[in-house]
């Protein structure tokens, strides 16, 4: 048993660090200059990453990928997270749609879409959830009716990240309302400039506008934009959802949050002592560190499984559930440690860490909802890992 990376991987890491040193600084300088459109700056950063060869690591070379080893993929996600580099703006396209197309797309679709997902030329959003289809996603109602060489789509999608700026959307629609619910769903690729699409931003609980609702009104999508077979979309979407859950890089962002909290507790005074000198703060931080280490070593176990070609399967829900709870504990601990000043807003006198604690807290609350709620993760673990009988009629 060992956690060492090979000398080749370590050299690769060194090269990446040197690359980040130059390119990340440049990006940060441009972003700070002020008069740049933040979306354009984010697209440019993604293009830089792509040209550097640090995106699409697992993808085939013919579609712009790197065919890098799993350990190199880990090195990249570790170093990007550690350096504080922003995630590529097209993360949804890269982590969800890309692998789906590689697995299920036609040759034309792969050549047409994959390179532009990677270089950020086309931004993607995901049209899955609906007002009436959240945890029970397969009950979605957005209708698509075949009309010659087109599908005509009517319905509503919601919680769509990047909906306001995306160029394209990958969409689940009902093509057969009479079939059992999982057997009447199709997977379409929709150009967001198609007539009949209305996008409205939704403010999230933290005050940001990171997601949207989308209305489809007689939207015509060419048949060539169908992924896989008509009514075969659910199986394809399932593989997409698994991609969403098996990500590993979350540990480092959690580690960064925890390190910030530790530094805060050293710099903040509570009465005549530092926050960190209080026994209860020490106990709380230690518990968070213990859980972070547990998640980290669970990640190493999952990674070793993947290297040995064993798929994480339902066990990925364990990490997802635990990570979102840990993020929330860290978010709440920020309020505990900051004490009376935790409530002060970011532009006020005496605000702490420029409002970051509050943002971390609100961000953390979304993790147990997006990508499958914690309650659904518990169901999956109970049914698929422990083999308990299903708790609901389906």
């Amino acid at each position: 048993m060992d956690l060492k990376f090979s000398p080749q991987d370590e050299q690769y890491r060194e090269r990446l660090r040197a690359w980040l040193d130059v390119n990340l600084k440049q990006h940060q300088a441009v972003s700070k200059a002020g008069d740049v459109d933040p979306v354009q700056a984010a697209r440019d950063w993604q293009k830089t990453l792509c040209e550097g060869g640090y995106l699409g690591l697992s993808w085939p070379r013919e579609y712009g990928g790197q065919e890098a080893s799993l350990t190199q993929q880990v090195v990249v996600s570790e170093e990007l997270a550690r350096s504080g580099a922003p995630a590529p703006i097209n993360t949804i396209g890269i982590s969800i749609l890309g692998p789906t197309l590689i697995q299920h797309g036609s040759e034309e679709q792969k050549q047409r879409y994959l390179p532009k997902i990677l270089n950020g030329e086309e931004l993607w959003c995901q049209g899955f959830s609906e007002p009436g289809a959240g945890s029970d996603l397969a009950s979605l109602q957005t209708r698509a009716i075949e009309d010659g060489d087109h599908f005509v789509v009517n319905g509503q999608k919601v919680w769509t990240s990047l909906g306001m700026i995306a160029d394209w959307c990958f969409l689940l629609v009902r093509t057969n309302p009479d079939a059992p619910k999982r057997e009447g769903i199709s997977y379409l690729l929709c150009n967001m400039k198609t007539p009949g699409i209305t996008v409205r931003p939704l403010r999230n609980a933290g005050g940001g506008s990171h997601f949207c609702e989308m209305f489809f009104d007689d939207v015509r999508i060419p048949r060539e934009n169908l992924v896989g077979e008509v009514n075969g979309g659910w199986r394809i979407a399932r593989s997409t959802l698994d991609n969403e859950r098996s990500g590993l890089s979350g540990v480092i962002s959690i580690e960064n949050n925890l390190d910030r909290l530790l530094n805060l507790s050293i710099s903040l005074n509570r009465g005549k002592q530092r926050a960190i000198d209080s026994d209860s703060v020490q106990q709380q931080l230690a518990q968070l560190w213990i859980e972070k280490e547990g998640l980290k070593y669970l990640g190493f176990r999952n990674l070793s499984d993947q290297i040995a070609n064993r798929l994480p399967g339902p066990a990925a829900s364990v990490g997802k559930l635990f990570a979102s709870r840990l993020r929330q504990k860290i978010g709440k601990a920020g309020f505990d440690i900051a004490g009376p000043l935790a409530q002060v807003g970011k532009k006020s006198p005496h605000s702490i860490a420029r409002g970051r604690l509050q943002a971390t807290y609100f961000d953390s609350l979304g993790y147990s909802i997006g990508g499958g709620t914690s309650e659904i993760m518990q169901n999956i673990i109970a049914e698929k890992v422990l083999g308990l009988p299903r708790s609901y009629e389906d």
Binding site: Q282, E293, A382, L388
Partner: protein
């Protein structure tokens, strides 16, 4: 990057699970509670020795199995799940202690052959845990000296021929050999919550020679960490067993014409324990690897594992008791045995608060 068990380790784990299912049961533990203390029969000790378990992580040229510490932890995990007494852990730790001290090879050979029990005496009646809390101070006299004082909670002290006693010498803490039949030694049995043997070792002017000083403070700390991580493994195996037992029951037991495991109030509680078990297993592997590699984070990871497993062991056993309903609250079901073992181990070699404090001092150290 290779963070998984070897084929050999998986095979040993399965072997021990099967061995425990064949040779040991909750009934043995219930008897131990009624007619204290719970004792492992000599023939079973010999069988375990013949399988090579006691010396599994001892160097091959010392007659051991040459396996990493994690293999010992896996054996203890499987044994803990089968409610096997602490004798196995005690002997595994004593063997590592003798190896670390560079003790006489014949002595080590006797130990791993199951011919002798060596108990380790660290804790004192001062309400604290750990090597830092040791107050017993040797009275030096030329090359040797005398020990007077009391050690408590000494696991398997009722069966030990030899004690390794942690005491303060003029140049710091040390491990000192004291024979059970030495003059001035008195052994008072203490009943552990789970029916196992722990003792008070009372010493009055017990003589030791220079040769009896086996290890220094650094070795004492290593022994403490190894022992702590093995107790964590016992707690993990215990939780895993309770989870399996309770999950099986939840699939069978019918109420309202459905298996109770189909109710989310039951299913989600079990799912949460599954999550905590997986995190615990990850921490156990990480801590064992860090100890093996002598990593700077080893002590913090050992404490992380122990703290997590303390909470997990108790939480799992209490949930198991609750989810079994009325039958869970009976003497005949093994759940209370698991709970007794978990509750005892959770305050052996440091409770969760103690270990979180050790983690906190790591976080506050300049090296972090």
């Amino acid at each position: 990057m290779h963070f998984e068990l070897s084929e050999e380790q998986n095979a040993i784990y399965d072997l021990v699970v099967g061995f425990m299912a064949d040779k040991w049961s909750g009934d043995n533990r219930r008897q131990g509670l009624d007619s204290f203390p719970c004792q492992v029969p000599g023939e079973l000790v010999r069988e375990i020795a013949d399988l090579g378990f006691f010396g599994i992580s001892i160097r091959e040229n010392s007659g051991g199995g040459g396996e990493p510490l994690l293999t010992s932890a896996l054996i203890v995990e499987a044994a803990g799940g089968g409610l096997f007494p602490s004798l196995l852990t005690t002997t595994l730790v004593a063997a590592k202690a003798l190896e670390l001290c560079g003790a006489d090879s014949n002595w080590l050979a006797r130990l791993i052959a199951g011919q002798q029990t060596v108990a380790i005496a660290i804790e004192e009646p001062n309400g604290c845990w750990g090597p830092d809390a040791i107050e017993l101070t040797a009275q030096m006299d030329g090359q040797g000296g005398y020990l007077s004082g009391s050690k408590i909670l000494v696991a398997d002290g009722d069966f030990a021929q030899v004690f390794l006693v942690a005491a303060l010498l003029p140049d710091g803490p040390a491990l000192i050999r004291v024979d059970a039949d030495a003059e001035g030694v008195q052994i008072n049995s203490m009943r552990r919550l789970d029916g196992q043997s722990i003792v008070e070792l009372e010493m009055k002017d017990v003589r030791f020679e220079q040769d009896d000083v086996l290890g220094d403070g650094a070795i004492l700390n290593q022994v403490y960490d190894i022992w702590t991580v093995l107790i964590a493994a016992d707690l993990l195996g215990n939780a895993q067993s309770v989870l399996r037992m309770t999950t099986d029951y939840a699939k069978e037991r019918q109420q309202f014409a459905r298996p109770i495991g189909s109710f989310q109030a039951v299913a989600h509680r079990l799912a949460d324990i599954q999550v905590d078990v997986e995190i615990g297993r990850s921490l156990l592997y990480g801590a064992c690897l860090a100890l093996e590699d002598e990593s700077a984070e080893a002590e913090a990871l050992v404490s992380a594992a122990k703290s997590w497993m303390n909470d997990l062991g108790v939480k799992a056993a209490e949930a198991g008791l609750q989810l079994h309903g009325g039958i869970g609250y009976t003497w005949e079901l093994d759940i209370h045995l698991h709970l007794r073992q978990a509750r005892s181990n959770a305050v052996t070699l440091g409770d969760s608060k103690y270990h979180r404090a050790r983690v906190a001092s790591h976080l506050m150290s300049p090296e972090y």
